[in-house]
């Protein structure tokens, strides 16, 4: 790896899901806070290994549902509002002797809009929580980063971490079974 650039973090590669599963708990127990696991597929139970369990005994939970709820509620009221505004307020329309507005007949309209907006909320909520789009993450500088999408597992401990120390962290990563421990540097300018 190049010696130029700002230090981002130390990487350690693991070969199997169970290796990174046990290693993650050790990194947590060692008291590191700014670190991340990179895996080719979601490894179930890794959340609990990385962050432990909360006081009720559950692992960390994604906040995406909040965005879904906001989207769904918005969609429901949008649907109701457009039907009322368009067919009962702005241009009252007599059709089939039915009332101008009722929550019954436009059921499909607000039902579909609830789902539509909730789906957008989910996707954009996922994007927002994952800080996407971001095309320049420092881990991409790792020459073997592509393998984490294939069959390798990687732990990165960031320099930002208060417990980070060049030598100590390096030997720690070696101790927990990490292979080819190395430093990632991000380019100084883009």
């Amino acid at each position: 790896m190049a010696n130029k650039g700002i230090k981002y973090g130390l990487t350690a590669v693991f070969n199997t899901a169970s290796d990174i599963y046990t290693a993650a708990a050790k990194v947590r127990d060692a008291g590191y806070t700014s670190w991340e696991c990179y895996t080719p597929m979601p490894v179930h139970g890794l959340d609990a290994q990385m962050y432990g369990l909360d006081e009720k005994g559950f692992p960390i939970r994604s906040k995406v549902p909040r965005f879904t709820l906001i989207g769904g509620v918005t969609g429901f009221f949008t649907g109701m509002f457009i039907v009322w505004y368009m067919n009962a307020y702005d241009y009252p329309l007599i059709a089939g002797g039915k009332p101008f507005f009722s929550p019954i007949f436009p059921f499909p309209v607000f039902y579909e809009l609830t789902i539509l907006f909730a789906a957008f909320g989910t996707l954009f909520g996922m994007f927002f929580l994952n800080r996407l789009p971001r095309h320049n993450h420092p881990v991409f500088e790792h020459p073997k980063f592509g393998r984490t999408g294939d069959d390798k597992f990687m732990i990165v401990i960031e320099v930002e971490d208060p417990k980070f120390d060049d030598e100590e962290t390096k030997s720690f990563l070696n101790d927990i079974g990490g292979k080819s421990v190395g430093l990632i540097r991000e380019p100084e300018e883009f």
Binding site: E36, P108, Y111, I115, A119, G149, D151
Partner: protein, 472 residues
């Protein structure tokens, strides 16, 4: 009580020590113990390899077929809907038949990706991406028909609640307006679901890319995905939520499509069985199309380890189940027509089976009810070419089902003086025939440029994804 129970349990516990538990031979979802790397190479290899010559031949051939839709629509737009065989009272003709046919095909994609996801059916992983692509493309084909059926297609945007110069809004009491919302929502959410599921795989393709255009293309689409645990956590939650949202969506879309018929006060249409019957039919036709598409894809790319006999068996069984449901619905419609003692309803059904379109009715029954019954037999399910042929029959039968529903009723309305015989024109046939080309063009492009299977999900069902390495 508890002591009695333990006494009862004791002897069997003794036996358990001596007897080895029977080993259930569960078919693994990925055969031959393929490694994670093998899966990546296999799926990415399809996209990264040099374009095979068969692909070009199929692509050009599909484009030629698609041009028939172009010709049909050109004639239609330049001279008007009169170019179609529609008449009064058969105002809908082939347009509604083709629309419902294609929409129905789309349903299996969402069923596989959403409902089977919620039901934790792991076998869906290797077929869901292809079926989702099928959904999106089928809905595109479906959209053509109502869009051009409005006559002046350049005013089609009036269907949406957008302010226009006439100050007139859509009329929300109409089932056709509900359709606009249902189908456009379905299309949008299907694309979101399809795209979101693809993001991690696009990132894999990005990281493997050698050529500059590939780096940009997959880089842009993958949005900077970096495989981190945080990303996966939010992704999995979002995926689950989209599955949960798509499930009521897919059931509602064909329900609302069936309202197009069921809300009308016409014999043969005005029945409460329509929504469940349409949904079952849609899933049935969709699975037919999934098999029609994926069985050749599996053979061409040698994906036998990823789509194995277990997948085919399961798809056949769903086809059989939904086909039987559809058969039950046909029988129940007849029963209710008799039991309801409404002479118009009774006439509509006798007319369906023995009237002017009797041939269409019996094609429908033989393809949809009789033909899938063959799938009861294991030997037939294991005969892949035969399964493929059955899937084609399912597609044909489901087209005829919509034809029978729409046209037998309309061509024999309440006023015998307006009875007639509806036949499509050449323009009708061209437009519909071409949609198969359009669909194939899109599907071939998908095969060439996008990951055919969700890498991470296929990897998740292998033993390598288990952090306990089998030691629970």
């Amino acid at each position: 009580m508890s002591s009695a129970t333990t006494d009862m349990v004791k002897p069997s516990a003794e036996i358990l020590k001596k007897v080895k538990p029977a080993k259930l031979d569960e078919v693994p979802l990925v055969l031959n113990k393929r490694s994670l790397h093998w899966i990546t190479e296999k799926i990415c290899g399809i996209v990264e390899a040099k374009t095979p010559s068969w692909w070009w031949w199929c692509f050009i051939f599909s484009l030629l077929i698609a041009s028939f839709t172009g010709m049909g629509l050109l004639v239609l737009v330049s001279s008007g809907v009169g170019e179609w065989g529609n008449n009064n009272p058969v105002n809908w003709g082939w347009a509604i038949v083709n629309f419902v046919f294609w929409i129905g095909i789309g349903h299996a994609g969402t069923l596989i990706s959403a409902i089977l996801c919620l039901l934790k059916q792991k076998w869906r992983t290797s077929i869901n991406r292809g079926s989702e692509a099928m959904t999106v493309f089928a809905v595109m084909c479906a959209g053509i028909f109502p869009l051009f059926h409005v006559g002046r297609v350049w005013f089609a945007w009036w269907l949406f609640p957008i302010p226009n110069a006439n100050n007139i809004w859509p009329q929300f009491k109409s089932p056709l307006e509900w359709d606009v919302f249902a189908v456009s929502t379905y299309f949008t959410v299907s694309i979101l679901f399809w795209y979101m599921g693809m993001i991690p795989d696009l990132a894999v393709l990005r990281d493997r890319a050698q050529k500059m255009w590939r780096k940009y293309f997959y880089g842009f689409l993958s949005m900077g995905w970096n495989n981190s645990n945080t990303h996966w956590r939010n992704f999995e939650m979002a995926y689950l939520l989209l599955a949960g949202l798509s499930t009521p969506l897919v059931l509602s879309v064909h329900t609302i499509v069936s309202f197009d018929f069921a809300i009308a006060n016409l014999p043969g249409w005005h029945t409460t069985i329509f929504p469940p019957y349409f949904v079952a039919g849609a899933i049935f036709s969709g699975f037919g199309m999934v098999m029609t598409l994926l069985l050749p894809v599996r053979a061409v790319f040698g994906l036998h380890d990823l789509i194995n006999q277990k997948h085919i068996d399961n798809m056949c069984k769903i086809t059989l189940a939904t086909g039987s449901l559809v058969g039950y619905a046909y029988a129940m419609e007849f029963f209710i027509a008799w039991y309801g003692a409404n002479s118009y309803e009774g006439f509509a059904f006798i007319n369906r089976a023995f009237g002017n379109y009797w041939w269409a009715y019996w094609i429908m029954v033989s393809c949809n009810v009789i033909c899938p019954q063959l799938l009861w037999f294991k030997a037939i399910r294991e005969n892949t070419p035969l399964v493929w042929v059955i899937s084609i029959f399912v597609n044909i039968g489901m087209w005829f089902e919509r034809f029978v529903i729409a046209n037998t009723t309309l061509s024999r309305d309440f006023l015998p003086s307006s009875w007639g015989y509806y036949s499509p024109t050449v323009v009708d046939i061209f437009t519909f025939f071409g949609t198969f080309g359009f669909f194939s063009v899109l599907f071939l492009l998908f095969l060439r440029f996008l990951p055919l299977m969700p890498l991470a999900e296929v990897k998740s069902v292998t033993p390598m994804a288990d952090p306990h390495a089998g030691k629970h």
